[in-house]
């Protein structure tokens, strides 16, 4: 090993979005009989790297795990460190963490919804939803200075305060986005074509959820009302009024509805948090000088579900072990339950319904069961999916009224 010059990617890390993964669908005619998943293309060894950084650096390291939900990992990591050292963060920091966490949920869900529209052949939805998402990114820029990778978290609190004079502008942008999301939700619920395409497709039962340990909107769409923010409140989630959204059917339609309604709950949380810090001054970060020996667990409800961090300290300034489990790690295996028996045209949206990553779905290839030969590429799948929507549109003969208003 000594003279081999290889940059070894070490440490278990699972890329959430925009990262390469590879699905193999095994098909019998139009029906999917098995799904295989191959990973590791973008394994960066974050857990091993974390052992070589000091505790403050790790906050920024874990932020780089994912570009979409980039604040989820730092929140979970800080929760773990605060659990380890027994730190209670200042109230103002709690509200600011709420705001960052929920803004991220809205932008991530909108991003997903746009892509889902693209997969189904509603490209206008894709364009418009991403336009609405810009407002949220502007808010991020105003609060943190960045549209992504906010660098807001620190063990013991947050790094930047929200200024009073920014709050009216933030609230105005938020209310504009709120109107758009309400319109989108109504349009989805009203549209007969979407209903025909998504209802009863890729159903996950409560038992599947338990067996695979699935989390987040996937679990909540199947009627399992788990949400870390409610079950084990951290940051300031117990200081504001909001409710957990659940639906019963477990199909892709319900997953869409859960995500959109969750955005509205997030807006409620942000509005209340902004009101709570307005006109007040206060500490935003506790000074943490030493991390004692011990172990800590932190979890956070990311847009895709629970992020789990386990940190062990031996009293030095670096972790001995840092275990990270992202939500897609437990959500992706549910494909075994949701895809098998479905048709190829539907698999595209089922895989997307879990919100793993669009590059994930881009790497689908379809194999013929008997010949073990590649028959379709991802672009063919999107085409088939779009054609199916068009066919249904013709059969039904109309589109939802609200789409016309929207588009």
């Amino acid at each position: 090993m000594a003279n081999r010059k290889v940059l070894v990617p070490i440490g278990p890390y699972h890329p959430l979005l925009e990262e390469p993964e590879y699905f193999q669908l095994y098909c019998d005619g139009e029906d999917v009989v098995d799904v295989e998943w191959i990973a590791g293309y973008n394994h960066r060894g974050i857990e091993k790297l974390s052992e070589s950084k000091h505790y403050d650096q790790v906050t920024f390291l874990v932020e780089r795990i994912c570009g979409i939900c980039s604040t989820s990992h730092p929140i979970a990591y800080c929760n773990a460190m605060e659990d380890l050292a027994g730190i209670e963060i200042p109230e103002r920091a709690k509200y600011i963490r709420n705001i960052i966490g929920e803004l991220e949920r809205i932008h991530s869900h909108l991003l997903w919804f746009g892509l889902a529209g693209h997969f189904l052949g509603y490209n206008t939805v894709f364009m418009w939803v991403w336009k609405y998402r810009e407002g949220i990114l502007d808010m991020f820029e105003m609060i943190t200075g960045n549209r992504n990778h906010y660098g807001m978290l620190k063990i013991g609190g947050v790094r930047r305060d929200i200024e009073d004079e920014d709050i009216p502008i933030l609230k105005k942008t938020l209310s504009q986005v709120k109107g758009k999301i309400q319109m989108l939700t109504e349009a989805v619920l009203d549209d007969p074509v979407l209903a025909a395409r998504l209802k009863g497709v890729g159903v996950l039962t409560k038992e599947d959820i338990k067996n695979y340990g699935a989390v987040g909107p996937i679990a909540r769409a199947s009627g399992v009302d788990i949400d870390v923010r409610k079950d084990d409140p951290y940051a300031g989630y117990n200081l504001v009024e909001w409710k957990v959204i659940t639906t019963e059917n477990g199909d892709v339609f319900d997953k869409t509805v859960v995500r959109l309604l969750e955005c509205l709950e997030s807006i409620k949380i942000i509005e209340q948090s902004l009101d709570a810090i307005k006109g007040k001054k206060g500490q935003i970060c506790k000074e943490v000088r030493e991390i004692p020996e011990g172990e800590g667990i932190g979890h956070h409800e990311a847009p895709r579900g629970e992020v789990f961090h386990y940190v062990r300290s031996d009293g030095t300034n670096r972790p001995v072990r840092h275990k990270i489990r992202s939500p897609s790690y437990v959500n992706i295996p549910t494909f075994k339950a949701s895809c098998i028996g479905e048709t190829i045209a539907d698999v595209c949206i089922i895989l997307a319904g879990v919100d793993p990553c669009y590059c994930c779905t881009e790497r689908i290839s379809v194999y013929d069961k008997d010949k073990n030969k590649k028959v379709y590429e991802f672009s063919d799948l999107v085409k088939m999916s779009v054609e199916k929507t068009e066919k249904i549109k013709k059969e039904i003969g109309k589109e939802g009224k609200l789409w016309k208003k929207l588009l």
Partner: protein, 145 residues
């Protein structure tokens, strides 16, 4: 919660560490693992979170994390050890289907053998990865030397 766990797991528990009211660590023997997980996962209805594998100075440590979401979000971690020479532990894929990936991951990165795992092949590392070279072990540097 602690009383309930004590009652259900009576003789299995070797040691209890209560970090705070929401984080409980139970040390058990690796031969009792299946029994304990069956009670916590199936009888008590906890949600399986993940497994953390840790290399210690003279043994390997595995932590099986379970969350009781509707009982205050309490996280119960089952701590078990396996010896440094030929580390081995029973696979729980028969009990929890969702454990398959993390067992594969620990197998390839730390070199702990999961006896009875149906598909113990490389997961994150490439298929032709060098045998007996486990990157997450302490001796291995991040530059691969």
């Amino acid at each position: 919660m602690i009383d309930k766990l004590k009652e259900k797991l009576k003789d299995i528990i070797k040691d209890i560490k209560i970090h705070n009211e929401k984080k409980i660590y139970l040390t058990i023997d690796k031969n009792d693992l299946k029994k304990a997980v069956n009670i916590i996962f199936n009888e008590m209805g906890a949600r399986f979170q993940t497994v953390s594998g840790i290399e210690n100075f003279n043994n390997f440590e595995l932590l099986y994390h379970f969350s009781f979401d509707k009982e205050g979000g309490i996280i119960v971690s089952l701590r078990t050890f396996t010896e440094k020479e030929k580390p081995e532990i029973e696979s729980l894929t028969g009990l929890i289907p969702g454990i398959a990936w993390i067992e594969r991951e620990i197998w390839e990165l730390l070199g702990i053998n999961f006896v009875g795992h149906p598909n113990l092949k490389h997961f994150l590392l490439r298929e032709d990865w060098e045998e007996n070279y486990y990157p997450l072990r302490k001796g291995v540097k991040t530059n691969g030397k």
